[in-house]
Symmetry: C2
Subunit: 233 residues, 2 copies
């Protein structure tokens, strides 16, 4: 009997935003894997650190951010190590920030291992939507269209997509903040947009766009453009 | 001291997909409110039925589906009843299917009560994203744009929005399935689209589009159009 591969969404940052199911699996599997940087740091592991047991085997999947070739090599190495545990009959839970199937690192392991081992995915709270909860701002009503898009898009594409939606969440801001702000200004969206950094964590920041220092925008931040629609009820 | 108003996302259907936080609040508040039909049925209450305590006071918010005026009147009555509990110092948890700020019923109570009482929102797993987990299909990679939109849009708008996104989730299908299918056919998207009904519940169905009986499509169903991008790692 081979082990089972779990892709666990661990949510946006607050450990209490794990689901009951993710918590149950996380605390009972013998092996826990997670993306990590070369120096051992791991956002996903940090979220669930309080739930990990000393008896659990940990498998860091080391992913240098660049060059891109190294990410593939990192996933290859991680997948090989995980496959060895699965082949030996040990269940493996792979941690994934937010929601695994939405820009998630687990997709690269699913592509490598999903055909060979029984696999189950456990949804996680996505920061893209949790940001609306912490800001207490309704995102979409009734017939509204929501667009989730990365700030890394080039300016014309970003402009086009934002011009044709009722509500949006712009993720992966980092050094792209100035470009995004100029698009928001051009479309007249700046006033109703909100900047949110590290939603649901103690360091969480919620600011209007004019209060943001472009030089201090981390990758883990987003801009929320809530719908302008009338509630209608 | 007034009570606190909680908007609790209870997720897509599987009770184990409540967050630890929603579970903690749900099982400790004295008053639990939820949208309900005139005959007392409530999707949100059904999800958490196993967690409710006999000592908790329940407040159904009765919402006839039509005419629209009645929905506003229903929210008005529900808000008044909830406000009375809050004014008496009792915390109230309002249940909301999926994620409260995404087409959620709680938004109509937030609009009525959020200014008058301390309020906290607890994110829930949205079926729009959980559908990708149960289908084990990655939604978006890297630079992809995701669009979430209701099938109730008119055909030209639906077509335009779908033509300009990398991935999409079309919700609230019901009697709009035929219209959506014809748009998918026109755009060449039918082959990679998946129909998902009642994701994460025991009755869950996952089908290719050609396997769907248009006459038997419930409101609680959606179509997933995953990104066509290459993983890249």
């Amino acid at each position: 009997m081979t082990g089972k591969l779990y892709g666990l969404g661990v949510g946006p940052g607050d450990p209490e935003l794990l689901t009951l199911k993710a918590h149950r699996i996380l605390t009972t599997v013998p092996v826990v894997a997670y993306p990590a940087t070369a120096d051992g740091g791991s956002v996903a592991r940090a979220i669930v650190a309080g739930f990990l047991q000393p008896t659990q085997i940990e498998v860091p999947i080391v992913l240098p951010f660049s060059p891109r070739e190294s990410a593939a090599a990192g996933y290859d190495r991680g997948a090989a190590e995980i496959a060895a545990h699965l082949a030996a009959g040990r269940d493996v839970a792979v941690l994934c920030e937010g929601e695994p199937m939405l820009y998630g690192s687990f997709m690269y392991l699913l592509n490598r291992l999903g055909d060979r081992f029984p696999t189950e995915l456990v949804p996680g709270i996505s920061s893209t939507l949790a940001a609306a909860d912490v800001a207490q701002v309704p995102l979409t009503y009734r017939q509204d269209v929501l667009t989730i898009l990365p700030a890394t898009l080039d300016r014309p594409l970003l402009r086009d997509r934002l011009a044709q939606t009722d509500a949006a969440v712009i993720i992966k801001l980092g050094r792209h903040f100035e470009k995004v702000r100029s698009v928001l200004d051009e479309l007249g969206l700046t006033g109703r947009s909100l900047y949110i950094e590290r939603a649901t964590l103690p360091q969480q920041q919620i600011r209007t766009i004019d209060q943001v220092d472009p030089a201090a925008v981390p990758y883990w931040s987003l801009i929320l453009i809530p719908s302008h629609s009338q509630p209608g009820a």
